[in-house]
Symmetry: none
Subunit: 71 residues, 2 copies
DNA sequence: GAGGAGTGGGGTAATTAGGGCT
DNA sequence: TCTGTCCTAATTACCCCACTCC
């Protein structure tokens, strides 16, 4: 292989939906609303950067800043 | 490789598939549908120009609008 | 010439996109 | 306002086997 650039892992809408425990449709709406970056395939399907998803996931976690043991 | 002639870096269907997080067969369909330019080897296998793939990838990429946090 | 990995072609099942509604 | 579900159409994923690339 002569790529030499294996940076960003991309996730499918279904995988992101599973991470957030929501419907893939909701993930699509987030992308449409510009709340999360998306990479479209030439066919129109979306792919999401895992790093961005992780960041958003962590952001939502820290947003509910309750020091109690609620995990 | 190591042809000594740089500037025409070609990617295999598998490499392009990894970039878009799709199946190599899907990349083949893109080429068949004319959504992406392809170069055929004498044996019939397809090769793709990295510059074209990168350009396509960048064109289909949408950055997330930076939220204003707490407003 | 031999061998492993990848690719092409065809066909079928699973996801996804889009709009509208509860 | 945001999310989940219903619908149809389009795109993508995985199965087979034969051939090509290195």
């Amino acid at each position: 292989m002569t790529v030499g650039h294996v940076g960003e892992r991309l996730l499918t809408p279904g995988e992101v939906a599973a991470l957030f425990r929501v419907d893939p449709k909701t993930v699509t709406r987030w992308a449409t609303a510009g709340r999360i970056g998306s990479i479209r395939t030439p066919g129109g399907h979306r792919r999401f950067r895992e790093t961005e998803v992780q960041a958003l996931l962590a952001e939502l976690t820290t947003e509910a800043t309750e020091p109690a043991e609620h995990v």
